[in-house]
Subunit: 348 residues, 4 copies
Amino acid sequence: MGITAAVAGASGYAGGELLRLLLQHPQIEIGALTAGSNAGTRLAEHQPHLLPLADRVLGPTTAEQLQGHDLVFLALPHGTSAKIAAELPADTVVIDCGADHRLSSAEAWQEFYGGEHAGTWAYGLPELPHPGGERQRETLRGARRIAVPGCYPTASSLALAPGFAAGLLQPDDVVVVAASGTSGAGKAAKTNMIGSEVMGSMSPYGVGGVHRHTPEIEQNLGLAAQEAVRVSFTPTLAPMSRGILATCTAKLKPGVSAEAVREAWVSTYADEAFVHVLPEGRWPRTADTLGANTALIQVAVDERVGRVIVVSAIDNLAKGTAGGAIQSANLALDLPETLGLPLVGVAP
Amino acid sequence: MGITAAVAGASGYAGGELLRLLLQHPQIEIGALTAGSNAGTRLAEHQPHLLPLADRVLGPTTAEQLQGHDLVFLALPHGTSAKIAAELPADTVVIDCGADHRLSSAEAWQEFYGGEHAGTWAYGLPELPHPGGERQRETLRGARRIAVPGCYPTASSLALAPGFAAGLLQPDDVVVVAASGTSGAGKAAKTNMIGSEVMGSMSPYGVGGVHRHTPEIEQNLGLAAQEAVRVSFTPTLAPMSRGILATCTAKLKPGVSAEAVREAWVSTYADEAFVHVLPEGRWPRTADTLGANTALIQVAVDERVGRVIVVSAIDNLAKGTAGGAIQSANLALDLPETLGLPLVGVAP
Amino acid sequence: MGITAAVAGASGYAGGELLRLLLQHPQIEIGALTAGSNAGTRLAEHQPHLLPLADRVLGPTTAEQLQGHDLVFLALPHGTSAKIAAELPADTVVIDCGADHRLSSAEAWQEFYGGEHAGTWAYGLPELPHPGGERQRETLRGARRIAVPGCYPTASSLALAPGFAAGLLQPDDVVVVAASGTSGAGKAAKTNMIGSEVMGSMSPYGVGGVHRHTPEIEQNLGLAAQEAVRVSFTPTLAPMSRGILATCTAKLKPGVSAEAVREAWVSTYADEAFVHVLPEGRWPRTADTLGANTALIQVAVDERVGRVIVVSAIDNLAKGTAGGAIQSANLALDLPETLGLPLVGVAP
Amino acid sequence: MGITAAVAGASGYAGGELLRLLLQHPQIEIGALTAGSNAGTRLAEHQPHLLPLADRVLGPTTAEQLQGHDLVFLALPHGTSAKIAAELPADTVVIDCGADHRLSSAEAWQEFYGGEHAGTWAYGLPELPHPGGERQRETLRGARRIAVPGCYPTASSLALAPGFAAGLLQPDDVVVVAASGTSGAGKAAKTNMIGSEVMGSMSPYGVGGVHRHTPEIEQNLGLAAQEAVRVSFTPTLAPMSRGILATCTAKLKPGVSAEAVREAWVSTYADEAFVHVLPEGRWPRTADTLGANTALIQVAVDERVGRVIVVSAIDNLAKGTAGGAIQSANLALDLPETLGLPLVGVAP
């Protein structure tokens, strides 16, 4: 075909999922695979499920390795992608699955991540509604530098943005509690992440202070609302490999009816291929999104307390990372947005 | 010696956990075991782990079977315990693990459960702080009819009550999102509860309208606060058999400091055997409470949004049902409150 | 284009997996969907992950509904497919995912299943080696009635057949112990299969006497060996939704070397797309086959006891049922055998 | 009471389970706690469930720390306990949870573990039948150095020993396939053991060559049989924290009836408190042993192939390690053998 893609960080979970999905993509050919400390080893040692690439040897993550591709996916530790990207040609499509270029505010970056802000790239959440009816996807067509959203922000922003874009929600009382599968914590070997510790257990995840994904959620919802939105966000860890279930709630503005709420959510996503507002009475399960680039959403109004309850389910590695990345790549390359991306999860 | 206990509903999960714990109790002897449709069968068919009781045959759940015991535990479907209890002697200690007698408001009962309210019994959450410094346990000493709290209300009320009792929290903006293991849904065979459906998946649980545990949480927090408290409560189902992780958040009243928050929680439970506020920086995991009558709690302040975040972990069948029931029975019978109840969970 | 497929039993697990895979198949169009007691309901109630088919209404499972398709998949309870198939045109490709037509011996059928034997159809395990170097796939090209193997026999037969076909193994001392995910037990709501019972637990599965899959395994290995093979087979239930790990062991004939063993397994599957003998030192994990039509195999010799140990991993619903069914359908319809079938599992 | 116990290796899984059980023991007081690299830290960092010991600081694992106790439990890496034990007084009861002193054959030690054999201690499997009707427990009364069996050997030896002791089984064709929860692999942080890798997956465990537990199983069965027994043993890893399900099969000697088999197993364990042969038709589940010092066993004859199939379930950390250790300690100290040990598992 001629579209070639390199994947930096191919031995990790985001890298593995990128490769799994790219192997199904009809127009993208997999090029160089690179890694950090795993450079020099065969892919099969790290990704035994990727049988067609088993014998590929991982190169070092350098601009030299990544050059010469139309598309470069960076699945690297935070703080490392800016330097690599700067050495790549300006017309290469570079898709960063890390956090470095997601935030538009340098102050927020410094507060939550520390160090110098690497700059802001086009934000890869195509379905995000802008006020006035446009979508985030318009900013992605033809883009050459794209920041893939975090997995929690994907689930939370898709859940709540319709209400903010429609002006139905109060901006100062938003609570998100999200449960994530363990793959969201990456592949590093830590005692608190071994199977014996996480199976059969729920626990808060990284609650020591405010989670880094909070400003990203606030940025997205603020864009939809056209005013500052404040979010209380608590992530938890669930005993499963994949999946995010985000339970999101916000106060309704006075006089907003349940019908107006339903209409806002349904109409926002009526034409979206990957974001589905379920029929009334059915609630999303993460299992139904496993391996798919799909978000399932349900919304209800609790009139007793005057709040919307929105629950969204995604696969954190698919729609939450690698699937979203390829969806944005499709837009950047002027391919059909849905090309090569699965809609149907592997259930049960 | 000589204290005998009957268990009605011995083939279900609450009944099984009551028996597991009673087998460890040094002062209570297990008497009659009864069941509904399982009457006439051996206990081993339903509770294969209860080896010492394997050959006990379940009787029918009738007052006749339950009579002649000092203590009767009812682990029955909602709406059935009042009639049985009415036929038992007034000086028998009757502990209802069901919902029938938890709510003090007949209106709330009718709204959430329907049918006639069976009346209110002493509410079996000993640690619940009352304003003025007393605890709920005072109402349980010598009581002869006790309603065991629901598992979600146990986790949520213990988490938030210290802040309300100390006057630190606003009563109108409380959000609780709780994840429960599947045993909370009971032992009935339903397609949506089979292992293939629940393993590897998170989903909302019973969100069709407001969950029945909501008024019970509001009742408890309202008692602590001495004013009406409104709660947005969303339960979710996690892929594990046991455990509840409740993430609870409420708005701080103006000017409340993080120190005042910590002091309120720590001092409330400083003398409690089963409720532990963890040292700063450590967060509760449900696995650490498995099989134990223990609640683990951590509290933090998110100053950006002016909220407390409180996370509590319990075993829904132990502290959340059967352990709580026995703790109340100990109080009713003037035994040491902690007698026979495990504090240490089975981890990992 | 123009190939249409009906699926009978669309609300169950085998039916759901058939539809998930058929939605990815470039040449087969999904036609009628039927069910038993679920007839008249929408597919979304049973298969919420199959978003593109959500609004399809299930018809009754009758020949009338299934007629007019090129291809009919039967995912029905045992004992019911023969009657339906007899009413379908002889040139319709009928693929039975049930057990009715797998066994060639009427005596074995009566011993293990009871009732009259419905007859033997072409057996849909294309990779099964025959003595002389042919494969089972030759019998499937152009076939019009095909019996899909059981999931345990698929895993076990692929594991051991190379050794029998090469004459390396003794036929009278074969032991297979296989662990299966719970979806292998189907979607029926039974108390012993609810999540609370199966999570965190391993147990034998259906050990009351000899499992029905035993004669099928013996039939396959006997075909490869060209002599009667006797198998001790014990299935167990593992706390996961999908996956079979079969640990298979047999006595080596005198003088067989480890090299000869390795050569037999590697050469048998060297040209197979879906069956992979892993490099030495790497062992199969079921997770690496999730959702894929793939079998992973490793073989080793324990010289102390003179046995081979072969471990195979498949997804019981994919290669073990629906994937195998579509692979056979491809052969029957003269399509490329691998068309539309995923090779890469969804891991982690 | 005056019996004090030190635990070396208190931050690991075996150490944690020892402490959990010792906290329930009415006659043993917990003394020094030591660790390797975790020395100097508080126990709560490693064992958050052990609330009563949360503030205990771990000392270094030295003879100095361990001296002055009646009882010393060693839960240390293989190869390290002999040196420590040699420095402890001869009349201290030293219980080694590691492998160093389990094997009676120095040759077997060198073949499977390498290095010099540290010597053989009394083997702590009290229920193991000896020919002639004695039990292993006779060797443990008053013992001062005891080697705790491996978890797989405990499950496998209890399962098969009755048949060998009764002379019913052929010694040269024994196959054991056992599935273990991940805690059996210890608490070390390895990438292949993190939750994302093990949840939802079964895999062989350490099959690179013959597993080290094989000679130990052969030693036990050989003792029961009074002749050399050869075992093919394959361990697998199941997606659960705790539990071993061992599926064990052996050829019957000619003419042995199913009745003789049942009689051998039932009579062997009729008087045992912790080993239960289940009634016919009921099979063991690991969940029913969770946290308990219990082994559940079922035996059946497959007459088609002339084999017994024995399935046993234990908790690898309880009966398989720490519970077995305390049971032996009770014997060594002349306490009631069952003292302080739970019989009832935490199910569901």
